[in-house]
Chain length 290, copies 6
Amino acid sequence: MNKKLLETVKQLSDIEDFKDVCHQQNEFTSMPSIDVLGEIVTLTRSILFPGYYGNAAVNSKSMLYHIGVNVDKLLVLLSTQIKAGLVFEKNTQDLPCNDFDTCSREIARKFIMQLPIIRQKLHTDVVAAFNGDPAAKSFGEVIFCYPGLRAITNYRIAHALLKLEVPLIPRIISEIAHSETGIDIHPGATIGEYFTIDHGTGVVIGETAILGNNVKMYQGVTLGAKSFELDVNGNPIKGIQRHPRIGNNVIIYSNSTILGTIMVGDGAIIGGNIWVDKDVAPGSKIVQRY
Amino acid sequence: MNKKLLETVKQLSDIEDFKDVCHQQNEFTSMPSIDVLGEIVTLTRSILFPGYYGNAAVNSKSMLYHIGVNVDKLLVLLSTQIKAGLVFEKNTQDLPCNDFDTCSREIARKFIMQLPIIRQKLHTDVVAAFNGDPAAKSFGEVIFCYPGLRAITNYRIAHALLKLEVPLIPRIISEIAHSETGIDIHPGATIGEYFTIDHGTGVVIGETAILGNNVKMYQGVTLGAKSFELDVNGNPIKGIQRHPRIGNNVIIYSNSTILGTIMVGDGAIIGGNIWVDKDVAPGSKIVQRY
Amino acid sequence: MNKKLLETVKQLSDIEDFKDVCHQQNEFTSMPSIDVLGEIVTLTRSILFPGYYGNAAVNSKSMLYHIGVNVDKLLVLLSTQIKAGLVFEKNTQDLPCNDFDTCSREIARKFIMQLPIIRQKLHTDVVAAFNGDPAAKSFGEVIFCYPGLRAITNYRIAHALLKLEVPLIPRIISEIAHSETGIDIHPGATIGEYFTIDHGTGVVIGETAILGNNVKMYQGVTLGAKSFELDVNGNPIKGIQRHPRIGNNVIIYSNSTILGTIMVGDGAIIGGNIWVDKDVAPGSKIVQRY
Amino acid sequence: MNKKLLETVKQLSDIEDFKDVCHQQNEFTSMPSIDVLGEIVTLTRSILFPGYYGNAAVNSKSMLYHIGVNVDKLLVLLSTQIKAGLVFEKNTQDLPCNDFDTCSREIARKFIMQLPIIRQKLHTDVVAAFNGDPAAKSFGEVIFCYPGLRAITNYRIAHALLKLEVPLIPRIISEIAHSETGIDIHPGATIGEYFTIDHGTGVVIGETAILGNNVKMYQGVTLGAKSFELDVNGNPIKGIQRHPRIGNNVIIYSNSTILGTIMVGDGAIIGGNIWVDKDVAPGSKIVQRY
Amino acid sequence: MNKKLLETVKQLSDIEDFKDVCHQQNEFTSMPSIDVLGEIVTLTRSILFPGYYGNAAVNSKSMLYHIGVNVDKLLVLLSTQIKAGLVFEKNTQDLPCNDFDTCSREIARKFIMQLPIIRQKLHTDVVAAFNGDPAAKSFGEVIFCYPGLRAITNYRIAHALLKLEVPLIPRIISEIAHSETGIDIHPGATIGEYFTIDHGTGVVIGETAILGNNVKMYQGVTLGAKSFELDVNGNPIKGIQRHPRIGNNVIIYSNSTILGTIMVGDGAIIGGNIWVDKDVAPGSKIVQRY
Amino acid sequence: MNKKLLETVKQLSDIEDFKDVCHQQNEFTSMPSIDVLGEIVTLTRSILFPGYYGNAAVNSKSMLYHIGVNVDKLLVLLSTQIKAGLVFEKNTQDLPCNDFDTCSREIARKFIMQLPIIRQKLHTDVVAAFNGDPAAKSFGEVIFCYPGLRAITNYRIAHALLKLEVPLIPRIISEIAHSETGIDIHPGATIGEYFTIDHGTGVVIGETAILGNNVKMYQGVTLGAKSFELDVNGNPIKGIQRHPRIGNNVIIYSNSTILGTIMVGDGAIIGGNIWVDKDVAPGSKIVQRY
């Protein structure tokens, strides 16, 4: 290291220089860890779909032990990460309970108690993917290697955590799926049963989108905001409905973009590569012309 | 763990609850491993393109030793994964030979014996990528860092394994490339020589697509099924031709979607962002209007 | 290994067979390492955004030590990789200084001295992402988990290295971001301040694209070449301007494709899913019809 | 690699050159793995002393799950290593059951069923170490960090496996303890309850040694063979009693050597640094003079 | 897992069966970790002997940064382990401060503040080893590869922690050295400057031993307790002086055993392989006869 | 980090404070790495005893490839470590060739060319261990798990490197064996064929010891220096013969100490626990009395 580098080090360490781009997590708490959250997702999947992920030796006789241990591990890891998320965004006085540790553990327990319901919903998604794809040979294959199901699993986990008011963590969990699959489902979206995404790369489902049951979509589909209202300071107003509502039994083909607070009615079919920013009548079918 | 969690554990371990979402691999065989398959792909690449991947110290004098050892390792790892795939989908009586171990090893050997031919085909793909990209400076750069070539390599490996009737494994290998590159080529597709994909994110090539020689495509291109016939129970019929045929010397620009059992003739050019579901005449050029 | 496999090994080791697909790095130098370059990116981020990445225990008192050590590590790792890139493409006589080691270290030092400026630019990108997304709750969240910012960070690092005439390495760094985020920004592109990409999967920004300040784009946007001139041998001519220029304050919605050496004027808005290959007037707004 | 090295490689690969120093394990079975055996020991300890080793989060409520999972893992890992040991030394026709897999699993099950008894014996050893050392503060401390107990644990595991006629593996397990602690107890030795070794480095207990209850020994003590009978070919005769018998309540101080098939009577005390090759009367005390 | 194994699992999980061999660490605190303590020792060595251990790239210009970062890391890791040790042995009411976290951090800080003094003492030990061994070529060699110095370093670290009343942790640190080097120095021993141990395997130095300056000893030397007084219940009385005092400038040759509360006077020389349980006059020399 | 810790950091970073305990390796060269040297030993063993260590899948057909690759790896790793050792102790002008890189590679090549001879010698050691131990069942068992053979292997490797005038590295290699086995053989010792050490913990063989063929020794045996001559400054004189010579066919029982430049004649037997500092006549037998 020569003189100039030493000066660069000093400049980069100047509080004025880094204060806007440096988050000061409380000194004795770690930042959320993307690696640990990845582990948490893997662990949760191994509880929801026992036998497919994680320890290959799981069999019916020892299922109780394995799920017990995995729930125990999940409780420990998830509590830590929830705490890291709470510390990232909140002060002690904003907490719904006495302290960060108690809150985190309580939320982790509530999440785990929802796993049977999450499994039921994912079961419907597996059925939908299997029925909808001529190439699928078994439920097993869908669970084991369909990226669509992987993204939906992360979404259902992240959505449950968001409902429990965990900050930051749900978003990171959905970004993990986004990076792996190219499918970006915001944890805030509301999605019914028997949901399936084929291929999936480039799919975007926005924060306030609402999807009915039995929706199928292909790669590159966007359910986005057309524009968003600004407040008097010119900043976007938070928490306003700004994404589409999709009815039941809707199919949306690849690379189409559905924008704004429109309604796509039950049973509608949206062809590929088109841009939709007006309501679509139930049962109608729209396609691009060339 | 409190009482409620213990009850949740019991519920999640109930056979009725998990039986549909749990694959029961034969007790003494492991599930296919995505990690090991990733290692197998890396190993195969290091045999096909010696010097670019894996041990950097390879030189011409010791090439024989390195390829010999890598083939030896590949034989061991691939046999295990092929076995895992066979056990996942088949019973002993469905096997073409006496037992899982013999079958798996035999198939692995046959695959390895095809590596020289696979290398020849990939060589044409490298040439095509180099010639087609003004930014490419050498074959080496193409092999070392072009995601298109990476996806095509995984496809050519997976396709060869599929032809050898290995279940599940080819699909996982193509999903590994899909996750890394955003390019989703079904192992069942038939693709000629001098194939090149630029940028590639969002490309989807379906199971029964057939591509001639010297095809070039850009990011976001879909060669998909328009719809698929249902059997009397309303389920999709498997194994029917349902994707496009693409002739020789065809270029397809970004984000276009070619759907159904249509034919795109030799030398055709498809512009970007359009949706094509009818035959395209040889030599013709179609573009979106706005 | 049986006889046939031994023959396959010999065939694959034949110099005629592998000479075109094997790069002969100088015997005593390693190939560039994607893993080490990933580490370099993580290290650089931890210097630019201290506290968010890497060691969670960083606090204001010890910031100087941590940045000092990270700069020291970066100097060592980056010098090695720059050398690997130089050896990959150049001979000693083509170097701007005496030998590979001296050159590599000098370039690494120059890069590090630019980090304060790179941090300033990235700060503007963080501000833009925060202001532009109603879902963003803090600068911290943007830096910690927005894939758009991750891709822009890799771009700004890679661009600085490209300007210092480092071969191959910038391209690998941008491919690392491409694989993680689906966003493919060529290191050669020129991009102004306050740049933001939302969702991002499928974005492609070509080598000679030029973007003004305050540009916002969504997933699936391509800034591509329409065609490129061939030389008398039918090969593409290198280094020619072939991508669009985008003015200041431009918004490009999802999945649109802007092609060729056109100009998109200041303040223009390009709707989603369209294909643009002609100049767009300042302040104008173009959308797809259906 | 130059010419001379290539010749060296050939010479080292000549079958005549390596045939005596190369074990040819059956082609499709691995050699025993010292790393996996180390893992097996750790796993067994975590079952025997739950809470001290391995997962720190074990608590009474989830004990059943954790022990269940650990037993399941142990069954899988141990079966593999037992098989590796059987293949190393035996042919199929020498097996007590149909094939290597069946035998290995059966032996692993029998071993696991002895764990409750092994735990009882080790409990007495913990009590003895605690009572005998003024520095010990709790049973916990003894279990957690006394090398003597670690060596005795490995011995009791290895001894049980030897009794089940597992080849090679018991020896490797005792060598793992030897390397960690400097205490070398042959798995064939017979050792009573309440056994304790203090400090322990250099202790050697031979294959046919027999120790009563409540024996205490210090570092450097040898219970060795004085000489061994040779057969007509001048080779040592296997399986003959050749080590000492030690009665109950005997103390042997540091660095003493007890040799041959002698008897050290109940309650005897052997001072440090002496060489004993004759019977020692019960209750007697022998010391070195200087 | 068959029926019998399930029964074994139940038996091993029975609270009566495991309660004596299971330490119940407070539910939300981990057990001390031997791996982390190994890391702590490595980190402390890299602070004491910068340049020899850990990051090889340390140079004088960046020394401040590296030591600063290592001290920061040490503070974090050591606080956690001290807490784990305190929780293992103490209740909150026994603590010298309000809670475990505060206490642990305070002790870790005090320890770090002693590092300059510990470095001074170790410097004298390096000098002694160098001067005393004809084979030593430089201070560097002694620090880098002499097991005696490694054991003494761990001892000086462990001794400082013991003086700060940290439970369990000092003992584990000395056992780490014991396992690596065969040298077992109790953290409670008192040892002067310029101390050196050659070869070292089998050396034992007891809890209440007191050594002057400039003591040299060889492999296999024991400074042990001859016997210890029992209380009315027949248990050893804790904390009583029971090991030898060794004066200044004493040499003890290999495999000798010095027992009990005797005094070995200044300048004495003890020959090898002998057993000493009486005072040795200053300047005298005792050897074994044969 | 509070104020006092910041002061401690400053003190520890003061050049006066650390200059004596800090080795300044040339800035761009790493220190020798104990981990890499451990890997080198494992690699060398896998060449010498193919099939026992390392890749379990080695079989006779592919032996040439595996040994070729391992020799290639060894050449790379060993060159680096030899360079690190040379830089540690020498200046460029002291080198026998032009620069560190050339020298290191040349020495590594010479070492590799000696491997066939080293294998022959180790073969005699295996034979001796097998013949001498009634418990040994096969050559395989001896090679796979006898610590004595492990220590002798490291010695024969280290001795060859020492003869090639490599500094520091031989010593570290023998310390690796010392730590694993408790056997400390100085690389400078001269040892004949058919050498065997049983159990081994505590064995020390000094730098100038000379052993004939067919020597057997047990745990705790020392071949040490009695005293060493000092120069006029009171420092030990380097390089003088100061350890015993042991003839052919000698047995030395456990824990005995042979000191000084004495001669133990052919066929002599030294009993256990004794201290010998005078010549021992050929064929004689000496024992301790009590």
